[in-house]
Subunit: 670 residues, 3 copies
């Protein structure tokens, strides 16, 4: 993207204020006062742009675009497919979704179109082309915001038919599908592709391979819709970059399959600050930033965030003073080139009227939020050179959506909580506490160049994965995996023989039984005598305990109680030039911290800061031979950190870092 | 109503016992033994009155009515529309309701007719007219009980059409509606009234102004149905008064709009005694009594109450000895002219067979319940002069149903509990603990003549309200309001500018941000030094903390913790001849108690009893220049209370009031 | 059944492995190694047996049957109606169920056919006949396993019509039905049978007599379906015995009405071991064993059990070493002639792939589970003479399904938990702790020959029950009943007059009010001075407290608190040659234990072992003049027990019985 500035601003909906022309002028003045430089227009504007079928009204938008560009603002322009006009639903009911119970929605809400409907695709194409023709080459318009927060699924007859076609292309003949899906179980054998229906609580939900393929189809069909949206923009003559705004930990789509469709990754983040300790919320939010950044391994945009309290969380807590700055700078720290808010001005009515905004109903600049927003605007101008700086990581954690789908869908050792995400977080946090940049990747992404790769609860080994891991370790990589790994193939079909399938020699063991623990139950991992991997006498574990038969691995920890007391639980062994580590139980964070600290020490991984105080986040970005070291304090206390030599861009150089403070230092890369 | 007696008796269903003629005679003897003087007949009798379409059978009812009148009982006669015969649902499915998911009910239950259906209205009209012709001028028949516990809503095509007509009449043109409803948000603009559908989880639930108008329509359509029911009775030649039996804290209807349709207010009360401390249950039940009384500001009827345990609460607790008397006398204390039970005789089968009754399946008079009922019958005869006595109140609390709808529907500072009712209760309780009669009124009712008006969480300021309050205070009234007040107009559309809208000068402040607290979180309100308004060092507050910018108000309390520590939380200031008080947070009851006690002391409000012990309820009724002072002890302990001079009608004059005891004293008004 | 061995083995699904022929051979070798002698084939094989309508494929099954028989295995052959092929649902949608909301299921899951559908019955008949013709006379095939775990209900038009016919046959005219169902309540009178619809949340659920008759119809219609299935097998020429596999505490069917249809009772047991203390789980599981045994008062089969962890419970806990043996031997102890598992080999895919099996995905014999299974196989051969031994009981507990339906459906003293099953368990456990065999019977089964009969919470007294009890006691029987007994007739219609209806003279009291207690509330039962029935000063009671008027009974305990403090709670009196005991409240187990121990001591009941340590189960079986005394230790500790003289078949004779150990001793009956 063009402008050499960190994008600062957010969603703006002037169409809600067309009958109050003064508002636009007030807003422009206030935006300038807040150092805002970018606005997103047109999300949900369809009913105003096309008030009747085929009758378009762009005049109001022309005026706003002209005015904003004249004032120097950059514009991100949305296609309006996130919500459709009422007339369209009335005339073409097929644009409305059908749910898994086969009931078609009535008109309402948003983000609920049928993505297969030819009519809807055609209507979207028409409006997108017109928008592209009119605004797609304007100086000042910098990016296409394609639709809004894609998600959900449709089970209408059109989608059923598309699903069958998709399956036919994938499996070619029905016998292959029957085998892959294990349909002989409960006599569910299909005789032809025409018989297949999407999963439904009224029909079938226990055929896990069907569920998996349905989810894959939903992603592919959504991708196809996005592709058509973008094509319309191109056909309208615009060559501007495109993005879709993704969501926090959204499990309905495989974002990896959408990443290639767009030029820039962007996402919307709404952490529930002050619910858990801020250090935990920051860690959690940071992992999502890193997941988004790792999608393309390049700078991305924080497309939405809330300058105050949201209105849709269970409790709408105010952000404490300084927290908004910390949240905004965290995005920059992890690789974002923007700080964008939803929203610049609060709407007066309907469901989001109490969602925080830069300008609230009161409408003055004498508010706490407006002052903080303005302050951040100034800071972002100070650090604008970070724009475009990249993030390099030597360690990675696998967080794989298909694996997640499969783990959560299977009926297995615990049907009340497998805690896959938490298992991934424990590895991620353990790395991050050392100040390491961490890539968060899928099983299919390239991992050959990392020094350490953690693959917690890698239940599903898709074809080729075990071979790639073997190669990685043989060449010197350090591979860490855990309980409930290597159990099934991509169709949730169990591997026969020893598991983790294909890696038992790399790890020197095979997994045998797995014990589910009730929520109130615990066991312990007890380190072997004089272990260099532990600082505690024992670590508490919960939920799942994998029993293992060790062949050649060295035992690091054993179980503390139950009938498998003293049996091995944590192991490692050298393999080729590298090492294979195995963690058998859902053990507490401190065990991960101790293990990973030692593993990193024993590796060739470079640590940017020697001593990272608990609760301080350290990240680096690099550009033109410079390294930017960024430290943020998410604890309620003043702390001390030595960032070494360098030029201070933000914060202070006393060594002290106070609550919610961000320090940014630049030094030449060595 | 005619008879100069407190009505004592209740619902009676002899149609369930037509094949056992002895039962009626037994019942009459037992009723007389219990000093019962009134029975309600005909609720749910339709299938017996019209066993086939157009074939009526009144003979059985003739006999019962004759017999009861001969024995001196008064009769309240119900129209039977609360449940319809099976043949009607089979022949005219349109009489059955359609739910919000657009699914029509099958036949069953009760209270579930479509109130728009022309067929149903016609059938109701026909049976009502016949009942009126036959019984509507009988000596002994004293009141029409129109249908039963109206409630619920219907989304059938007929109702959709009626809703559209209702909207068209209200808004005239669709642009006015679009603006009022803020439909530009999410592109929901309507092009015509024909496009509008009622709220539905399958369609739209987030357009809050639609939700509000739908609820208003439901009330208006129900009112229209009631009007037709009553017209049929009039057309049948009966001039008897009418009532509808309302329900405890029912939020489905705006009872204020129904109050004018009938001659007498009545309601059904089923407190869950012995779940919370009896003092709390009594306070809660008392507020409902006062709400019902305030609907018309005249004596009303307690139409249903349970002489023993109900069968539909989660746990059916027995009433402890004496509690039934206390419950019955509480109705009299708050202004009821009746003590009526559901039911006189328990049914043998179906869902309510275990609902408490005066006569149970055992059928004898040697039961605890029968003895207590008989005792109350004697007491009511002793105090019969209270019939018709009125209640005068100098203070009022606003408890507004539209405000409640809006607060609970909006997505705002807390989506897991705003506690509007509890906020109203705190003000009500604080007044009641001083022995004051309290009116519980809507925002639209007249409040000019009160000395103190409390308006807690008055989120919605409907047009004119702020002006009326300003005038009230200017002329000497004391106005108390709280956090989350004056935020939106009647369409849940936010006021622009400072809030509470239109009252910032009366209060000397404006509300800024509001902080939602998690359930486990607390803050404190800390009184200013040497405050005369407080007895504690600090008061705990929860759920919501409003931050305020004070201009001219005097600060009474500030916040104890969080980033807004020491910022103002409770204020007051003189305005005109009166005062404006503001309470910024959801603070504990004792804070309300301390504040309100002092506010009352500083006012010209008259207190009937100097020292009201905690847990004793004091009320007064007035008639012909006499004041009746009523004291009730809802605590488990004997207490002492000085009611002053007067003639004792009930209880003892020792000064001691024992558990569940009621003392009634009469003296001349001064 | 023929073979003189305890059946050992379980469900086997080779149709899932037809493309891997080596698997069958491996399985056979492993089964033999595990001393397995029986396999169940064909459950859910329909799609493989009839891949297209009318095209049958038995070849694969021929091969497997031949091979298994050649290797000496016995075969239990299933009819495949538990799950139907996809083509059938596509062509004949009527085979799919309609739920209570009147929505027809889509294809999926299992156990969800319409049991009325003529097409489905015809299709089942055709496949059953063919199976019978082909395999029904094969040496080695020993039993028909009719369908699988019958359950559920269908509300389709065909079933509605069948229900109406059923009702017409039962009641003959609609007036009789109206009276029995108390339809006058809420005006629900029916004019004809054609108007009746099954219960539905969209229609009616509060007409309890309708609900009861619907449940009776569901059982009768299921029975009719079973009868047709069996007839098809007979028409196919097979005379082999039949069974249906029943489920743990299944409340959807009245198993007593199905018991006569089959030759052998069998059931599937999946206790959640290690959730509660094992002693409690064993007691609970033991009661189900005894319920199943009492259905026909003859040896039965444990048709399914899990050799490891299931996959469908909330948490899949591993069985601790030795527990599998204890579970298996418990079946033998209570009268089973089999130990059968679901399943011999784990499936690779679909929903049950992680359900425990003898052979897991790893596929080796070097697993803990395989070793334990093999060990049990050896033990069962040691004790094979127990096959066919019967169980004699002198005491019985009534656990009546219609009573349960009625208690749980009625809206009464507690709508959040009546705890009927727990009340029955307390009586059962009290007997079992004395080492007594206990029959668990319905109200309709013969009870004249028992010495003690406990009928806890016998809410529904069906016609004749009171008379049979009176006769039982008059002739010397000891009858124990409790609160909430004798309240309604078979249509949930209350008895008028004193209750327990018809037994007030036998008990010497009448029940008056019943108090529901909240979950957090308790009361106490206080024994009279110097009572021989108690060992504690007081016993805690919860949930329900029945107040009683005592006429002639002797009071054993009174209430400890509340307004009914000191009122009678537990009584007894002699009546004729016997005694009537009454327990008024839901009191803790230890009170039952103390009471029942003393009642047994005072009776002529024979106790097999003098001192049974807490947590040890003692049972006896008898055959050919021998008594087999079986003791099992379900505690975590070694205990001592003196079983007297005899020949040791299993376990040790040291007097010590260790955790999960089973000791079996044979001696001549005296």
């Amino acid at each position: 993207m063009k402008p050499e500035k960190i994008l600062y601003g957010g969603d703006y909906n002037p169409e809600q204020w067309l009958d109050e022309p003064d508002i636009l002028e007030q807003d422009i003045q206030m935006m300038k006062e807040a150092h805002i430089n970018t606005v997103t227009l047109g999300v949900f504007s369809w009913a105003v742009l096309e008030p009747e079928e085929g009758k378009y009204d762009f005049e109001w938008l022309d005026g706003i675009v002209d005015r904003l560009i004249k004032e120097g603002f950059s514009i991100i322009l949305a296609t309006p497919s996130g919500a459709r006009p009422k007339w369209m639903a009335d005339k073409y009911p097929e644009v409305l979704r059908v749910d898994a119970n086969r009931q078609r929605a009535l008109y309402g809400y948003r983000h609920n179109h049928c993505y297969t409907s030819p009519v809807y695709r055609q209507k979207v194409r028409e409006i997108n082309m017109r928008l592209a023709e009119r605004y797609g080459s304007r100086e000042g318009v910098i990016l296409w915001h394609i639709s809004n927060e894609y998600g959900g699924e449709c089970h209408c007859p059109l989608c059923q038919e598309a699903f069958r076609t998709w399956l036919k292309e994938k499996y070619q003949d029905i016998h292959t599908l029957n085998k892959a899906w294990s349909t002989t179980f409960w006599s569910h054998t299909y005789q032809s592709f025409d018989q297949i229906e999407s999963p439904s609580p009224r029909g079938e939900t226990f055929l896990h391979a069907l569920n998996l393929d349905w989810k894959r189809f939903v992603t592919d069909q959504t991708a196809d819709f996005i592709r058509e949206e973008i094509q319309a923009v191109r056909d309208g003559g615009s060559t501007l970059p495109t993005t879709i705004n993704m969501m926090y930990d959204y499990e309905g789509l495989d974002y990896h399959k959408l990443a290639d469709l767009v030029d820039v990754i962007s996402w919307d983040t709404y952490p529930a600050w002050h619910k858990e300790p801020e250090t935990e919320t920051a860690m959690d939010n940071g992992m999502q930033h890193d997941f988004m950044r790792s999608l393309k391994h390049q700078p991305y945009l924080m497309m939405e965030s809330c300058p105050s309290a949201t209105n849709w969380q269970s409790v709408s807590k105010l952000k404490k003073p300084g927290l908004l700055s910390a949240q905004s700078m965290q995005a920059i720290a992890h690789g974002s080139d923007s700080v964008l808010y939803f929203q610049i001005r609060q709407s007066r009515g309907a469901s989001e009227k109490f969602h925080g905004a830069v300008i609230d109903h009161y409408g003055g600049t004498d508010t706490r939020v407006f002052r903080e927003v303005s302050h951040i605007g100034v800071d972002l101008e100070k650090i604008c050179e970070l724009k475009g700086a990249v993030t390099n990581a030597e360690v990675a954690v696998i967080y794989d959506i298909e694996n997640r789908w499969a783990i959560e869908d299977a009926q297995g050792p615990r049907n009340k909580g497998m805690y896959y995400k938490q298992a991934v977080e424990k590895s991620y946090y353990a790395f991050r506490k050392l100040g390491l940049n961490v890539d968060v990747i899928s099983m299919d992404q390239e991992f050959g160049s990392y020094k350490i790769l953690a693959a917690p609860m890698a239940y599903m080994f898709r074809a080729g994965f075990a071979e790639r891991v073997r190669d990685f370790v043989a060449k010197g990589g350090i591979f860490i995996t855990t309980y409930w790994s290597g159990v099934v193939d991509e169709n949730d079909r169990c591997y026969l023989g020893a598991t983790p399938a294909g890696l038992t020699d790399v790890l020197g063991l095979r997994a045998t039984e797995i014990d589910g623990l009730y929520d109130h139950e615990t066991n312990q991992l007890v380190p072997e005598d004089r272990s260099i991997f532990a600082t505690k006498i024992s670590y508490e574990c919960r939920h799942l305990c994998q029993l293992i038969d060790v062949s050649t691995a060295r035992i690091l920890m054993t179980y503390g109680t139950d009938f498998y007391q003293s049996q091995p639980a944590v192991t490692f062994q050298p393999y080729g030039m590298g090492y294979g580590y195995y963690i058998g139980a859902d053990v507490e964070q401190s065990c991960y911290d101790d293990l990973y600290r030692r593993i990193v020490e024993l590796s060739r991984v470079h640590v940017p800061v020697e001593q990272v105080p608990e609760g301080v986040e350290v990240t680096t970005r690099e550009k033109d031979g410079d390294v930017y070291i960024i430290a943020q304090n998410f604890t309620p206390n003043d702390l001390f950190i030595d960032l070494g030599e360098g030029e201070l861009l933000l914060g202070n150089s006393s060594g002290k870092i106070s609550t919610y403070e961000t320090i940014i230092m630049r030094r030449r890369k060595q």
